[in-house]
Amino acid sequence: MDIIVCIKRVAQTAEADVKVDPSGKNIVKDRLTFDMNESDTYALEEAILLKEKFSGTLTAVSLGTAEAEDTLRIALAKGADNAIRIKAEDFDELDGFKTAQLIKAAIKDLKFDVIFTGCIATDDYFSQVGVALAEMLGIPHATLVTKVDIQENKAQVYRELEGGLLEHLEMTLPSLFTIQTGINEPRYASLIAIRRAAKKEIKVIGASDIDQTGIQAGTVLEELFPPPVGKHAEILSGSTDEIAVKLTGIIKDKGLI
């Protein structure tokens, strides 16, 4: 069972102060931490579990700058056999559509039975690379997968719909699955494995390695800006004690207790 997993190194912005840089098209990065995109960690774990079950080769692919190699090394330390970095610095206007085209070009010589990706990247929120890639490769796909059970050439696939409803599909391989968080328990890489992975070679693919005829973006980012402040909460200030008194008053006034 040969497997490809697509992973991305993203800024960890959930609890950070995010500011627009002077270009207006990017964020100020110097005070942010970076790590593997959350749903990609689950996609990677699913790929490793599948490899452990059936053996075969697992290749991790990432489009990113040189720092993305740290993320690929984590994948190698956890259980990937090979890693490919597509040099983001060689390309511009990297929307989901163009990213999918570049990944397709980068994996063109690889054999695979299954491709895993995360279901959404927390930086661009696209949820499109996996599905677009599957279409470009001419293979079926399923998104938001919370369980996948593979036996020989068949996969029982469970997609998470709104309201907690699941959709059960039967699919054949090769297929691409975009993985939802919570599907498994992503492992940690051991220190020994991390040290070993530091010495492994990462294949780097740049503009000169890819025939770029016809490769183009579908969208152009014009500007980033802070979201409009809607109904903003009344922020309660004071000591914790004072705040608790105020809150208790509010709760009481509304007749909630």
């Binding site: 608790a244 709760i251 207790i257």
Partner: protein, 327 residues
């Protein structure tokens, strides 16, 4: 032709709310661009859908086939690509739902349309299509231009385009398209309903809801004590379920439950849109979060910028004091 298309989304015989939001957005765009809005319906026994959508669009394109009783994005893609190639709409609107996420990118790639997903706003300016999206965990918005092309496709985030009154009298056109049976490579088997848990969080007047900020499973007992003191039930956002600390039936949000309690206390929840859609209709929302820029503060009525573990014990004591004074 400069039509706007909007795809009707339905499941288990019910039209999904996003459908009316797509129609509302589509009508506005059509009006501004002197175009017409077409509702596209793929379904089985579509009469009730047609009746419900008729007032929403200028035209209805209907493909009725048993194959469309349940959603199979593969079959949708095959049929829609044929319709779009025939009709060449300038813009096709699809919901950014589990349905649209599975369909749009593949369909757009197949037909060769520039596409944008998860849009909060869309406008047509001098023939150009511009969308507003969210990025970086909802901390920033982005204005995005779609590449110029005769046709485009976008998915719209639910809750961003309020459904509106409409009294159009849509003309119904039944399309005679042969729909193939389910392909072997992707077959719909069944829907599986969510498991029912010990508590129904949709029935509680007070929800004490926890997110990533609760940090570890051992801390949940502190929250349970607080919930008991205030007379509420503990619910949560997705990361808490992903970590296995609470069961899925406690999850509030698009893939969990939609709740409308009288009081919703969000503790350590940043407020991703998937969570917000599940709780924004609560009467009163109180949020505690260390991050002053957390999107949850845009939805809450009252906010406390602090560590939830500092606030919760003090608040619990005050509430117990008040109850004693009353009792």
């Amino acid at each position: 032709m400069s039509e706007i298309f909007a795809l009707v989304e339905h499941r288990q015989g019910t039209i999904r709310d996003i459908t009316y939001e797509l129609m509302s957005c589509g009508r506005k765009l059509a009006e501004n661009a002197s175009a017409k809005l077409t509702a596209v319906i793929l379904g089985h026994n579509t009469d009730s859908i047609v009746q419900a959508v008729k007032s929403q669009a200028h035209r209805l394109l209907v493909v009725d086939s048993e194959m469309f009783k349940d959603f199979n994005s593969e079959l949708y893609q095959i049929t829609l690509s044929e319709i779009i190639k025939q009709q060449n709409p300038r813009l096709t609107l699809i919901g950014h739902s589990a349905f649209g996420m599975d369909l749009c990118p593949a369909l757009a790639v197949q037909v060769g349309l520039p596409f944008a997903t998860d849009c909060l706003g869309v406008e047509i300016v001098e023939q150009k299509i511009k969308v507003t999206r969210q990025m970086y965990d909802g901390k920033l918005n982005a204005r995005v231009l779609l590449r110029e092309n005769p046709g485009h496709m976008i998915t719209l985030r639910s809750g961003c385009f309020p459904a509106g009154e409409s009294s159009l009298e849509g003309v119904v056109e039944n399309l005679d398209i042969t729909v193939s049976s389910q392909p072997d490579y992707r077959k719909f088997i069944e829907y599986i309903e969510a498991a029912i848990g010990d508590v129904d969080i949709t029935k509680s007047d007070i929800l004490v809801s926890i997110g990533r900020g609760v940090k570890e499973q051992a801390n949940i007992s502190v929250i349970e004590d607080f919930a008991a003191a205030i007379g509420g039930v503990v619910s949560c956002s997705r990361p808490v379920v992903d970590a296995g600390w609470l069961t899925k039936d406690r999850q509030v949000g698009s893939s969990g439950k939609t709740v409308k309690p009288k009081l919703y206390i969000a503790l350590g929840i940043s407020g991703a849109f998937q969570h917000i859609v599940g709780m924004k209709s609560a009467d009163t929302i109180i949020a505690v979060n260390k991050d002053p820029n957390a999107p949850i503060f845009n939805e809450a009525d009252y906010g406390i910028v602090d560590d939830l573990f500092k606030v919760v014990p003090v608040l619990k004591n005050k509430i117990l004091e008040m109850k004693q004074a009353k009792g």
